[in-house]
Amino acid sequence: MTAYFIRRILQMILVIFISAVATYALLNLAPGGPLAGLRQVQQTGRVKITEDDIARIRAYFELDLYLPVRFTRWLAGWPTGPVTIGNKAYLSDMVVGCRKPVETEILNDQGKYESVITGCKELVYMKDLEGRRSSRGIFRGDFGLSWRILRDRPVSDLIVSRLPKTLQLIGLETLLSLLIGIPLGVYSAVRQYSKFDYIFTSLAFMGSAMPTFFFGIVMILLFSIIPKGAGWPFLPAGLSESVRGYTIPVIGAVVAGSVKDRLLHLVLPVAVLTLVNIAGYSRFVRASMLEVMKQDYVRTARAKGLSETAVILKHAFRNALIPFITIVVFTSPGLFSGAIITESIFSWPGMGRLYLLALGDNDYPVAMAIFFILAVLTVIATLIRDILYTVVDPRIRLS
């Protein structure tokens, strides 16, 4: 068992490391970033930006360092200068980057000129890193500085400010979909082939085939736009609280930013996420209940003369939950994917929208940080799922 955990945790670290390297490289290979805007300003020629200005800005965002060096500084806050052992500094003359690259215009095979970095006028050495501002590394909660969305502010500030909004959505969604989905699935399985079961399974099937983004838009139409136009009570859609006060028929006046306002804004996004999730959860609970109800021990329980409620709740349901728990744990990081789409439909200021914004705006430190956190969560969820398997079902041995 201990050996298994050690192996799994080593594997986890490897998976996280590889995905971090891959995404970091991918994001940083692409042109763009904080210098893209400057280049355009320079091209219009009204503001003269000197080579030194660019070098300074590149240094500020660490763009003058080579990718592996940048990566380790991002990951672990190292190296911050030459390695000192005793009183002697080593590696101080190692080249770690290029301050002023030489760009040459080259005619490419399509007959267009493009600038290609062909050399380096001024190198960055390890000793130059000393005294330079550096991220403390993500292990100490420092994800570096944002490039565009909140320029020069720590990424962690941005994430912390957005996190509660996403947690609100995801927390409520999980709670509601479990509370509604499980009883529905159980009831549908107990009344198999009844009219309820038939209608319910078809609805759940449609629900799981329904794309979230289309469903969200339909919900906005049905509960916000159409009733508002008709003068009926409606639900606000968009953002997490309104900017100005508004009046809803029947409910009355709503002050912007009040608790009532925020609750009203929560209803639609949570409903969308919950309904989609219920479809998946209840289908699974139903299938697993049906499987369990066929077992011999359920027949034994009935033969003992137990009431049907006791048979279903104590004997069947508890065993049917075993595979379900693991499904719930494993899908939990996936909730974030649902949140990306839902947040974008409802302009909900959470992490998912921040992620889209960061990718659209070339703010790679922000995108990288969110992706890294997600990868860690997913990998941990996988481990918990595997452990839960053994806890809830002693027949499975880990090896």
């Binding site: 590889i18 991918l26 763009g32 794309p211 994917s337 997600l374």
Partner: protein, 331 residues
């Protein structure tokens, strides 16, 4: 039971007509009514999109100047063609764009499915058949891919690839081929090729696991051994003895993947990280309709419903195929 009766029975038993496996599967499939309806609906959709140039009265980028958001059924003054569904915010014919969008969305989904199932079959077969370190490496890789969160990674990759042409050069013949299918210029079809690659790049994992499972369970069977002792090559054993046995789960997987890719492509386009605007897809038309939804509440339904219908239909077809191909079920 007298001897005469037994004789009668056996005579009846012999006269049951023989059916090919395909006929048996079709007969079972036909009993799943919703799957049959879905099949008919999808065939209709394919027909419409294949005949797109005939059916659509307008070109996808043809602008009717000053005719923004005109009513459905309006007649174009100059040429007498009809805007069946009116025009969009810059005067492009909505119906024509919808038909071409269907052609693009369905082509992307089908190509992604074919490519991902092929990759899955090859990887799964190699992994299961050769075992050892090849299997270990390939399956670790599959597990690795399954642990990283898919949608966020898809978004990163497609945002990188779509915006930076030089990051992944695509050979011209591929672009021309895609352009010919989609009736677009090779330049415009670049995004579609990229989306196919991205979707297929993540979609082959389940097929690989299915194929590997089948190969592993058949590797030690007598008929495989017999084949080998007759001098069959590894390739022949995989193709002739193992692949047919793995086909049933893979066909089901493919039809569910089709549903997933239609939605996946639309989701990427909807979020702005898929095929971009001048080229129509259901996803980006839906995204575009969102800003006019206050005045025109029905607008999002036009591109949204086909996405939902396709997703539902492919799911039903997959469901029907799963039942029809299940060898445990008797007719």
């Amino acid at each position: 039971m007298s001897t005469a009766q037994v004789a009668n029975l056996s005579a009846e038993a012999v006269t049951i007509e023989e059916r090919t496996p395909f006929q048996i599967v079709m007969k079972r499939f036909r009993r799943h009514r919703l799957a049959m309806i879905s099949l008919v609906v999808m065939l209709g959709m394919f027909l419409i999109t294949i005949l797109a140039p005939v059916i659509a009265p307008f070109e996808i980028q043809e602008l009717s100047v000053n005719d923004y958001f005109i009513k459905w059924g309006s007649v174009d003054q100059a040429t007498g063609r009809i805007h069946y569904m009116g025009t969009d915010n810059i005067g492009r014919d909505y119906f024509s764009r919808l038909v071409y969008a269907g052609r693009i969305s369905l082509t992307v989904a089908i190509l992604s499915t074919i490519i991902s199932e092929l990759i899955g079959i090859i990887v799964g077969a190699v992994s299961g058949f050769f075992g050892g370190w090849i299997d270990a490496i390939l399956m670790r890789f599959v597990e690795f891919m399954l642990t990283i969160p898919t949608l966020p990674l898809l978004l990163i990759i497609s945002s990188m690839l779509l915006r930076n042409d030089e990051l992944l050069p695509i050979p011209d013949p591929v672009l021309k081929f895609m352009g010919n299918i989609l009736l677009l210029s090779p330049r415009d079809s670049r995004n579609a090729v990229l989306i196919v690659m991205v979707l297929a790049g993540f979609g082959w994992l389940s097929a690989a696991q299915l194929m590997r499972g089948t190969v592993l369970s058949l590797r030690e069977q007598t008929f495989v051994e017999a084949s080998r002792s007759l001098g069959a090559s590894n390739f022949r054993i995989i193709m002739r003895d193992m692949l047919p046995n793995a086909m049933a789960p893979i066909i089901v997987d493919a039809s569910l993947n089709l549903a997933g890719y239609v939605v996946g492509e639309a989701a990427l386009a909807f979020l702005g990280f898929g095929i971009q605007d001048p080229v129509p897809t259901w996803g980006n038309m839906l995204a575009a309709s969102q800003q006019f939804m206050l005045d025109k509440p029905w607008l999002p339904l036009i591109p949204g419903l086909p996405i939902f219908v396709c997703s539902l239909a492919f799911n039903y077809i997959g469901d029907g195929l799963r039942d029809a191909l299940d060898p445990r079920l008797k007719l």
